[in-house]
Structure formats: C-alpha cells, structure tokens
C-alpha cells in the first residue's frame, strides 16, 4: 500500500461542520472531458455508465483492452476539484453509510425510501471514485448486528442489494469494475448468494476499480474466520503455531480479495463517532472522518471535504 507523508496544517475538529439539511442542494459538477473516440461497433446507452468520466451519453466500445486504455487515459485527464492533489489521493476509501432511516424519518417517508436514496448516493460515490483515481471503495452495507433489525426492513435491504447488483451488472462489465462481497454469506438467501458468486466470478478480472460490499460483516467476524482458517492449517500440519504472525492473519482476512486491503480513509456519515465493528484490524492506521451529513445527503461536496481533510493529515504510522 502506497502512502505519502503529510505535514500537518492546523487540524480540523473531529466533528465536521456539515449540517444536515432537509433539502440538500447538490453542487452542479462542471465536467470537461474528451469524449471517447468511437471504435467499432458503437452503440448508445440508455443510462450513463457507472464509472463515466462524463454525465452525458457515452459510446460503448467493444474490445476490453481498448476500453481499459480509454478509461485510464480519461482518468489521467480528469481534473480534480480545487484543493485536491492527485499524488495524495487515497487508494482505498471505506464508508459506513449511516443515516438512511433518519433521512427518511426527517422527511416523513417510509424507511424504504431512505435506503433507496442511499443507493443513489452510493452510485454517485462510485462514479466519483472512478473519476478521481481511487482504486478501492469498501462500503459497509449490512453489519452482522443489523440482523436484529425488524424482519421486513432486513428483507427490504436484501432485496435492494439483489436488485442493485442485477441492474448494475452490465455497467460493472462495461466499466471494468470488479465487485467483491465480504461477510458471512451463510445467513443470506440462496438466490442472493448465487448472484453474488456470479458477479464476483464475472468481474474478477476487472482492474480499473474495485467495489467491496460488506454484507453480514463485522470486523470481529472477519478475524474469527481468519483464525478458523489458520487453525485448520495448524491442525493439518501445514503451519506451526509459532508461524502465526500478522502477515498470515492479513492473508486470511476477507479483505485479501484486494491489492489494497487497508483503507487509507474511513468516512462515517450521520455524525456518529464510532466504527461499529467495521473492519477493525484493517483500520489500524486508517484516517477517520466523521461527517455530519446523513448518507443520502453525502454528495460530491461532502466527499471533497473528506478528501481535503485526509490530504491535510500527517500520517506517521507510529514513527
């Protein structure tokens, strides 16, 4: 994992100054990008692709390599917002998407509307990450603790997940996005598990961007399952107990699905100041940013603020 040392400027207070608004005004993004040159055979899309470098309609091109090189070239040309430095962008951002239910309650809407609004926020964030060269985004979609929520709410969340994956499958393939799911999948319905395995397999060779979705996950669960795997290896004589070290544990954690398992930046929305059993091991030196906005209100402006805060920080790793 690469990182850059930051020399500290006056630290920002822990609690971000964003205020929750009932009717958020999202800033209009001015995008100036070169359109993708047409290759054969072009076809027009109905909706903008997930990792578009433009919000306008984009030509779909055949040929994986051409697409990857076009995407790469476009990313280099995409200017970053003012105040952000390309060299200091985090490689891996993790997000605890908190506040969907509160968002709905504040508007007198059913909880389901909050989750739907949250999905839109997620989509927008994935797009921004792709644009700005962030390689991995991990989202805490559903915690092990969330199984205690009302059954209907849980079922709705699972259906949102299933529908979301099905709808975006084409985009993932087209935009060279790899999808990984971490968590205790044994508690999920068979159809969802099969869908997850299918999308992971289908996108496993994509390299431009990786979206890791944590479902039925907790940091302690991840460590315990890593410990179980290691215990099996010890039992089978593959390794000795004294061989157990931090590197071995890292290899067995579910975040071994990515080149960058340690998030550089963790964002938690809705003003809650805790990590709620997310990742834990992997957050050893992660910079934490707590945003006041509720997740459906967390847009480009808020993300830029989080990234600016990250880039101002001095990361010394104990040194």
């Amino acid at each position: 994992m690469s990182f850059t040392l930051q020399f500290s400027l006056p630290s920002r207070p822990l609690i971000a100054t964003n205020t929750t608004t009932l009717s958020p005004i999202r800033p209009v993004t001015n995008l100036r990008f070169k359109p993708a040159p047409p290759l054969s055979p072009p076809s027009l899309l109905i909706k903008p692709p997930l990792c578009a470098s433009t919000q306008q309609r984009q030509l779909v091109v055949s040929g994986e390599d051409e697409l990857k090189s076009i995407n790469g070239a476009q990313e280099e040309n995409v200017p970053l917002p003012v105040g952000l430095w390309r060299e200091s962008m985090p490689k891996h951002v993790a997000v605890i998407m908190d506040g969907n239910r509160r968002w709905a309650r504040l508007r007198g809407l059913p909880v389901d509307s909050g989750y739907e609004a949250g999905v839109k926020s997620l989509r927008a964030m994935v797009e921004l990450c792709c644009k700005w060269g962030i390689r991995v985004l991990t989202v805490f979609a559903f915690s092990s603790d969330n199984w205690f929520r009302p059954k209907m709410e849980v079922e709705f969340l699972m259906s949102v997940l299933e529908e979301g994956v099905k709808e975006e499958m084409e985009s993932f393939l087209r935009d060279n996005v790899r999808i990984s799911v971490i968590g205790d999948l044994s508690k999920l319905q068979k159809s969802l598990v099969e869908l997850i395995m299918h999308v992971e397999e289908t996108t496993k060779n994509n390299t431009r961007f990786q979206l890791i979705v944590a479902v039925s996950y907790s940091g302690q669960y991840d460590l315990v399952q890593a410990c179980q795997r290691i215990a099996m290896k010890v039992k089978d004589g593959v390794i000795e107990p004294n061989d157990v070290n931090e590197s071995l544990i890292e290899q067995e954690l579910e975040t071994n699905c990515t080149e960058f398992p340690y998030p550089d930046l963790l964002i938690r929305t809705s003003g809650e100041l805790r990590v709620s059993n997310f990742m834990l091991w992997q957050l050893a030196y992660t910079e934490l940013f707590f945003a006041q906005s509720l997740w459906p209100d967390f847009g480009e402006a808020e993300f830029i603020e989080a990234l600016r805060s990250f880039q101002r920080r001095r990361r010394s790793y104990g040194g």
């Binding site: 822990l14 603790d145 205690f148 302690q220 179980q228």
Partner: protein, 314 residues
C-alpha cells in the same frame, strides 16, 4: 509572611477548585458515568516544538497532564482507565526520543514505588499491558514491582499499554486459540482411539465446537480481556485514527479527538467526552442487550506469554 499568605491563598483556591469539580461530577453522574476510558497521549513532541522546548520537556509536560486526568477520572468515578503510553511502532522513532520516554517511565515508576502510600490512598491498581519483553530489564522489573505493590487496591484500575499494539495482541490471541484447538483435536483423536470409528468421534467433537475456533476463544486470549471494553477513546492533538490501539475492543465505543495537544488537555475535554458518551449510552446499551455481549464476564487468565503480566480477578 507574604509567601505564607500566597501559599494559603493557593491552598484555598485548590480547595475551592476541588469542591467545584466535585459538584460538576455530581451533576454529570445524573447520567451514566463511563466504566472505562482509554487515552491516546498524542502531541507531546508537537507541544515541545510549539514552545521551543526539548522533546523531553514535552513528555514531562504530558506526564503532568496525565496525573491531572487520572485524578479527574478517579473523582468522577471512572473505574478503568487505559493509557496508550508507548506503541510497538514507536520504536521506529529516533533513539533519543525513545530513550526519553523510557527514562521518564522508569523515573516515574520508581517515584511511585517510593510513594506507595499515596497510591494506596487513592486506591489505584496499576497493570501493564503489552510485549514487555521488548523493554529493558530495569523497566520490566520496575513494572512488575509496581503491579505487585498496587495489586490490592480496588478503587480505580489503570492499564498502562507499553510496547503494545493491537496487531500483536490479536496475533497472540489467534496463535493461542490455534494451540488450544490443536490440543482439543489431539484429545478428540486420543478419545477416538477407544472407539471403533475414529472419524465419527472426531466429527462429534467438531459438532460440539470444541475443535472449531469461536469468538469467545479468541477473546479469552486477548491481553485486554481483564477489562471491560472501553466506553470512550480520547485521542488528543486532533489526529483521527486509532494507531493500532485496542482495535478489537473499540467496536462500539465513542471516539473523541479534541484538537488540544496532550499536555494541553484539561477537565473540559474530559467533561465534553463524557457528555457525548451519555448521549450515545442508551442506544449502545440497547444494542448490547440485543447482542448479549459478554461485557461483564471477566476471565481469570493464566499468564501464558509476555503479553499479560498480571491477572485481575473479579
């Protein structure tokens, strides 16, 4: 004469200050007082630089702040306090800085041993957590003496994390969980030899879970199992990260990062942290009851490695 009046006035101000502080803590105690607060003492070197002092002066100023904070916690009724005094990763710092910290720790431990009665008066028990074998012998010996000398005190328990990192702690726990399960598996196979079907017997043991690692197996080998999980982690100097501190234990605790450097931390930072905690407490309690977390089950551990140097009994 003037000096005597000055001293008298100082004493009066101190007493008034103490009285007002206790009144404030009484008000705070209308809500839930945290059972365990952990501190990351960040900013000592920056404090020294800010005031054009030597690094050592920064650490000494930090120690003065530490004593104040410990006093406030004790007066407030916080039962457990954990201090991140020195990380394993801090050995990467310049040798002079590392030596400053080590010398200061040794000096203060020796003072503590001389002032044993004062410590007893405050009812403070001190326990050292970490890979103490990485420290020099004089420090290890002093730490053992301090732990022994304060073992019978019960009012407040202070965990001093030295040469500690969560990575080490978790690795130690995983390693010993694996050893336990390997032993269970061997027992299962030995037991199975008396039966006709070895595999069936081993499978039965696996179904009972004696050979499968579970959450509680890992937890019982954690160095910090001797304390409840922290309710609040306070990290000074505005840095918002955990720096490999209590990663396993902080799953649901409140994080607070005031901008003040550690030597600048004051009563009001602590009060604000407790008020924040009280706001979240009712929600966290509801979650804990739902999950039936074993928050109040403290094991009486056996000392199996350098990681834990002192057992604490209920």
């Amino acid at each position: 004469m003037e000096t005597q009046i000055g001293c008298g006035a100082n004493q009066l101000f101190k007493r008034v200050g103490t009285f007002l502080r206790k009144c404030l803590f009484r008000v705070l105690s209308v809500g839930e007082i945290p059972n365990h607060i952990a501190f990351i003492l960040d900013g000592n070197r920056r404090y020294a630089r800010k005031h054009n002092l030597a690094v050592e002066a920064g650490y000494r100023a930090g120690f003065v702040s530490l004593l104040s904070i410990l006093k406030y916690c004790s007066e407030m009724g916080v039962k457990h306090v954990t201090i991140f005094a020195f990380s394993v990763d801090n050995f990467k710092r310049r040798p002079h800085e590392v030596q400053c910290v080590m010398d200061l720790m040794l000096e203060k431990m020796e003072v503590l041993l001389k002032e044993e009665n004062v410590v007893k008066q405050y009812g403070v028990r001190i326990c050292f957590i970490g890979s103490l074998k990485l420290l020099s012998e004089p420090i290890r010996i002093a730490a053992e003496k301090v732990t022994k000398a304060t073992a019978k005190n019960t009012r407040t328990v202070i965990f001093i994390c030295m040469a500690y990192s969560s990575g080490n702690e978790i690795t130690h726990a995983v390693q010993h969980s694996c050893i336990d399960k390997l032993e269970n598996h061997s027992q299962a196979r030995k037991h199975a030899k008396t039966h006709d079907d070895v595999n069936e017997c081993v499978e039965e043991h696996e179904k009972e879970g004696t050979t499968m690692v579970k959450l509680e197996d890992v937890e019982k080998h954690m160095c910090m199992r001797v304390a409840p999980d922290p309710d609040i982690i306070i990290r000074t100097s505005g840095e918002n990260r955990l720096s490999n501190f209590l990663l396993w234990q902080t799953d649901s605790c409140v994080l607070y990062a005031p901008a003040a450097l550690w030597p600048e931390i004051g009563l009001w930072h602590l009060v604000w942290a407790v008020i924040n905690f009280q706001r979240y407490h009712s929600y966290l309690e509801k979650k804990r009851k739902q999950l039936i977390l074993p928050q109040e089950q403290f094991f009486t551990p056996t000392i199996s490695s350098d990681c834990c140097k002192q057992t604490l009994k209920r």
